[in-house]
Structures are given as C-alpha cells and as structure tokens.
C-alpha cells in the first residue's frame, strides 16, 4: 500500500512537472531550469496555469530551486545581461568624408589677353 502511494505520488509529481506545461512551451526542456540555466527571456505571466495541486500527503518539490516549470528566479548577483551595443569597430557609424565646397565665380583680372582670338 505504501509503495502504491509512493508510486502514485511520484506520478502526480511527474505529471505536475512534465505533463501540465502550457502548449506553447511544449518544446521547452522537461527538467525545470536551474538558477544558472535560466534564460534572459521573459517567462509566461502565469506559469502555474494547468499545474495540479499535489494531493495531501504528496511531497512538494523542493523549495529554493527554480520553482515551477518556466519560472526563473532572480539572476545571480554579478550576472549581467549581454550588452546590445555594438563593440567598437562593429557596426559603428563612420563619419562621412567632408565634401569639397562649391566653387564660386572668380573676379576677373583686368588685363589684355594674348589668346589666339
């Protein structure tokens, strides 16, 4: 009887962990992400949707982990999101070369020409 209860609890836990995930998260890993594996992408608003509350007597998942599937804890201190700014030299705008000024009509020189005429 105890074995059956344990197996049943394990099944419930497994269902809670793997079977009740939202449809659009079907391709996400079955194992809930640990703190260090959490992506920087925002998670669904209600990750608890579809999770069945454990029945009485069932041991709840350990606290302190990533929690429910799809939910990530706060990032570890010191971990910074990758900067989206291009590093120098990569995609940096290049100053255009200066354009030569437009030539203006010159004042005439008063002089007798010696052209071929």
């Amino acid at each position: 009887m105890r074995l059956k209860t344990s197996l049943f609890a394990a099944g419930i836990a497994a269902f809670a962990l793997f079977g009740a995930a939202p449809a659009f998260a079907a391709d996400e890993p079955a194992v809930p992400p640990s703190q260090s594996d959490c992506p920087a992408v925002p998670v669904p608003a209600d990750p608890a949707e579809g999770v069945v509350a454990p029945e009485e007597g069932v041991v709840a998942p350990e606290e302190g982990g990533a929690g429910l599937p799809g939910e990530c804890a706060e990032p570890e201190p010191g971990v910074e999101a990758p900067s989206e700014e291009p590093s120098p030299g990569e995609g940096a705008s290049v100053e255009p070369d200066p354009v030569a000024p437009e030539a203006a009509p010159a004042p005439p020189v008063e002089q007798d020409p010696n052209y071929t005429g």
């Binding site: 659009f24 005439p108 020189v109 007798d112 020409p113 071929t116 005429g117």
Partner: protein, 253 residues
C-alpha cells in the same frame, strides 16, 4: 543601389526549433547598406575622360607658390613644376580627372592638348562645380549645363579652316577683363587649358585657346577666328558672372 529587404513573415507561435531556424534563414538575406564611393577610392572623378556626365567635378587650386607634377603617382621625381599664380596672376587651377586620396590626376594646361599628370592633394584645395560647357563647332552652338539642367545656350564663332578650333576636353584657367571692351576679345575672356594645333604663338602668347566675347554679330555662326570660340558679349558676361575657374569645357565637332 539599395536592395529591398525580403518581407518578414508573421509566424505566430512557432515553438519548434526547426521552424525557428527556417524563419531565421528566410530573413537572413537582409540588405547590406550600399557603400558609396568615398572620395579617394580610385574612381574617376565625375565627368572625367570625356564623359560629360551630370555629376559635379572637382577643381584643384594650388595653395603654395608652385606645384610638382608627376608623370605617375608616387613617382619620387616630378616631371615638371608649375608656378602659382600663372602668367596672368591667377591662382593655378586644375580640373581633377581622378581622385585617389593622397594623389590627384589632373588635366594640365600644357601642350599637347589633353595632357594629364599627378599632383599631391595636400598641395591644393579642392572645390566642386556642377557646371559644364559643351561646344559644338559643327552646329556653331554652345550650351551650359548645371547638372542635368541646361541653363544657357547660344551661337558661337569658331576657328577658320587654317586655324581650326581643336576638339577636346578643357577647362577655364582664368577670367580676364580686357581694358577695351570694344576690342577683339569683347568684354570678358576665359582662357582655356588647350592650345591651337596650328599656331605655336599668337599676339606674343603661346597660342592659348579661349572663349571670349564679341560685339560683332556677323562673327557668330561662322568660322572666323584663329582658334578661339567667340560668343556674344551678353553670353560671355553671363558666363563671367556664373561660371567658376575650372569649369570643364567639352569641344566637339
């Protein structure tokens, strides 16, 4: 020339990695920014080598007292040195045919007509003009273009049979105002970078060609000169008020 970016597809929810990869492949062909030819890239200057294009040309004006001209760029030895100002007291000016940054290939105001050479860009100041003058000696007419737009046209007198006006690509080297506006050169005269091919000297000068005015209307529409192009005093006055030294002049016919 800009290439259009393929339209992005709205896929909605695509949870599979394979679908995401396919989407990335479809949008990978983004347009690369067209690179414009920057100055000094080795490209011919607009309007170079007889191409009477509508783009602006560059004019180089010597900043010092002289400029070394090299037969080939980066030649250690200069093939000749030209003084500035020129014999008329006007700052020496060249029409740039090719800009390669440190070096400029320029049209030279020396014999034979059409001579070019290389000068260092740090010896000159550059300016631009979109004006160009086109002369058709067979039709006895000139037109002045400002870019794509024709801004002035008129009748011309050309060289006589014995002293023809040689066709070619030239530029204005100086603007003179003769003391006698009723004389043979009219109210103004633009010297050209070219020379008569039949006269080595004329009037004490080196046989230099010019575009100058005249008050003799009978001289227009005919072959009458010693090689110069004659235009009405009104037309040469308009040119003097609008066209800079260095304006390219294409003579055909």
């Amino acid at each position: 020339m800009r290439r259009s970016t393929p339209p992005r597809r709205t896929t909605g929810a695509l949870p599979s990695l394979a679908a995401a990869a396919a989407l990335a492949a479809l949008t990978a062909c983004s347009s690369a920014p067209a690179s414009e030819d920057a100055p000094g890239t080795g490209e011919p200057a607009a309007g170079a080598s007889g191409d009477a294009g509508a783009e602006a040309v560059e004019i180089a004006t010597v900043v010092g007292g002289e400029v070394d001209v090299h037969a080939e760029k980066e030649d250690a030895e200069a093939s000749q040195t030209l003084t500035s100002p020129n014999d008329f007291g006007v700052d020496r000016t060249f029409l740039v045919e090719r800009n390669e940054g440190e070096w400029l290939e320029v049209l030279l105001p020396v014999r034979p007509n059409g001579s070019t050479g290389w000068i260092r860009s740090d010896e000159v100041e550059l300016s631009t003009t979109a004006f160009r003058v086109e002369i058709d000696t067979e039709a006895f007419e000139f037109t002045v273009h400002d870019g794509e737009e024709e801004v002035r046209a008129g009748v011309i007198g050309t060289g006589a049979n014995e002293t023809p006006t040689p066709p070619g690509r030239y530029y204005f080297t100086e603007l003179l105002r003769p003391p006698d506006p009723d004389g043979d050169y009219g109210v103004y005269a633009f010297g050209l970078s070219g020379f008569s091919e039949t006269l080595e000297t004329f009037a004490g000068g080196p046989g230099q060609l010019a575009v100058h005015g005249t008050d003799d209307e009978d001289a227009l529409g005919r072959q009458v000169s010693h090689g110069c192009i004659r235009v009405s005093n009104d037309d040469i006055t308009w040119m003097a008020e609008n066209l800079p030294i260095g304006t390219p002049v294409e003579i055909s016919g």
